[in-house]
Symmetry: C2
Subunit: 461 residues, 2 copies
Amino acid sequence: MARPTPLSGFPEWLPDGRVVEQHVLEVLRRTFELHGFAGIETRAVEPLDQLLRKGETSKEVYVLRRLQAEEGESASDDKGEKQLGLHFDLTVPFARYVLENAGRLAFPFKRYQIQKVWRGERPQEGRFREFVQADIDVVGAGELPYHYEVELPLVMAEALGALREIGVPEVRILVNNRKVAEGFYRGLGLGDVEGVLRQVDKLDKIGPDAVAELLVAEQGATPEQAKACLELAAISGTDASVVEQVRALAASYDAVTDLLETGLAELRALVEAAARRAPGVVVADLKIARGLDYYTGSVYETVLVGHEQLGSICSGGRYDTLASDGKNTYPGVGLSIGVSRLVSRLLSAGLVRATRGVPAAVLVAVTDEETREASDAVATALRARGIPADVAPTAAKFGKQIRYADRRGIPFVWFPGTTGEDGVRGADQVKDIRSGEQVDADAATWEPPAEDLWPRVVPGE
Amino acid sequence: MARPTPLSGFPEWLPDGRVVEQHVLEVLRRTFELHGFAGIETRAVEPLDQLLRKGETSKEVYVLRRLQAEEGESASDDKGEKQLGLHFDLTVPFARYVLENAGRLAFPFKRYQIQKVWRGERPQEGRFREFVQADIDVVGAGELPYHYEVELPLVMAEALGALREIGVPEVRILVNNRKVAEGFYRGLGLGDVEGVLRQVDKLDKIGPDAVAELLVAEQGATPEQAKACLELAAISGTDASVVEQVRALAASYDAVTDLLETGLAELRALVEAAARRAPGVVVADLKIARGLDYYTGSVYETVLVGHEQLGSICSGGRYDTLASDGKNTYPGVGLSIGVSRLVSRLLSAGLVRATRGVPAAVLVAVTDEETREASDAVATALRARGIPADVAPTAAKFGKQIRYADRRGIPFVWFPGTTGEDGVRGADQVKDIRSGEQVDADAATWEPPAEDLWPRVVPGE
């Protein structure tokens, strides 16, 4: 087999990168669990017809085919089997899980889910085709109180904030509300809300003048209506004054509607709670349009400050119908962190690093193969007290054994005492290979410094 | 969308089942890390040609196809793209990872890997098509000392043994050695070692008489040779006397070879170390044939005592060539736990259970929506001290809020003190809804009993 090369779009980490990813996942998971979210995991595949319900994502699905079936050896076995595809997000599988288990779940049901997803993106775009997402959602049966739309972005703010100590930049969660946008556009007399949102979404790419032209040319807006849309999109802020600005703008165009007022009350509640509980993190940004076409209330995007061009690392919103089985409707609100996108940036930009790529804090040296058992016994004693330990692979010269530890970042090398001709075993010694300090030690009592016990994740140099 | 039904072969757990699975995975991971294994994760897909290198598994591969490519919209984008399939184990991807990163890994490289794998098994067999495996392997560059063949099954014995406290039955790790079997057969004059192993593997299914007939009919063995094979297969035991039995048997047939002696020395080292470090767990069983056709040294299978018909839950062995790039060869030894098979049995047989399916230890009640903020503040204070807390979804009657906690197994309900007409807020109270006991409490200092803090996994009733 020739030396294999990486597959574009399928990221993998070396062991020290995996230490970083594991740490990120553990911090997220702990935060989610402290907030009462139950962990679930769904299968990687869904029936293709379920995955294709949203037209726009259909092109991204990887379809599965059993090789055996392809060969025609037993095609009849597959009769009645649904065609399967890999899930491209964790929302579609969650909605299906909720319907499938509705009778056995308690609602509102708060769950987190951390899994890989797959998207058959065009290879030349350099996008990830396989990546890890970390989602939280709350789903209700029939109804779901608005306050969850306030709480969920704050949970994410806390989770991402907990990563700041390892060197993750601060985040801004940008929020908007479908009811505000729709209420405003309808108040202006623009009925094709999705169409207007689609044009406004191009603001960052093509600028306000071009968006205004498109609103006129494609959505049939008057120049004044187009101007109003752009003025709305220009509003942003971290406190309730945003709400007053929107209301004043709408009043100046005689565009205040009940829907707008409902949306503004919601947006105010979110901004006020956020200002109290996570000051400076949540920004109402009325130009956020992406997602507003399928979410029905709040919508969220998140940028890493200083890495805005990375795009959103945590997005989501409110669905009035996350799932429905015809009889019951399940509204939901949730957000999803793009863990691979985040970790990839953390590693490539050198923002964080692992103190080592192997768990072992101690390498137990082997004096000669005849006494390997004594070295194994030391390692066993250390492990029994929760100290990760490795044993040297061969009874090479100690210099070579120390290099084994050094190459892996293992801070301590343990030398079992040798048994003299008098049959008495000398004291064990442990060497800190960074300082060179070597002291007598007993495997039943010795402890490494707490910061050396396990690999840690710390800010990059 | 109609109520969906489960897909056969794709297991999923309800939240309390997932608590069990998570716990099992954490215990395994901790044991692996204490022994110095570094965690890695590989992508879910491999080029199809890599997956098909072992003929016998080719039928099990799920092949991926981009839906977009299928539609012919941009087939040219796919030019030069390799056909991809989902991995069916974690050994093939690990071998590829080792070759791809050989220059950046330190050898011997000890890694663990816990991921899903997929096999397109025939649907009617009721086998898992998606399941979690937990693998450990050690791989060397050019050489790999034998002692790893002793250590790795002992790591698994420790990992599985650590699960006994939650109610997992004890395990027996059955070991054999390719060199013993091959040395014995060759000493007898039977050259088609794979063929003999294939027949011996049928012992449990068809019995010794039928196997003897097959050895004569298909492998060209004499009745005496067939008898010798069956006598070898009948030997088992937990101490070094096994080695003497095999040697005596071989001597009686004048079938002692150098290869047999090498294998017996290895088997003795394994059995002796195991008897010392994990008494009673490891059994030398000379009838183990499965895997011996592709492993080159030790081979391992593991049964749950009392659940032997479940088959092996942890298997593996030694490869002299785990990977090779033509220039360098990487020998390896490893074992793989079938986590889904194990967890599925634990749950279906009621051997273990989670004390609850949600993380929250406390539900903070909401007196009325106007004071939800006070309830949120209590939850925030509890979480800041590491106590998982949920807040009631609505300000329903307290009885209904207590039922919310009860349905989820949340042991404590917290009642924020109400503010009287004099503006003074009364004391908060917390109720243990199991005993009904309700006491004054302060969110800054109150602690639940340690056993209630997080969901635990305990033996079933």
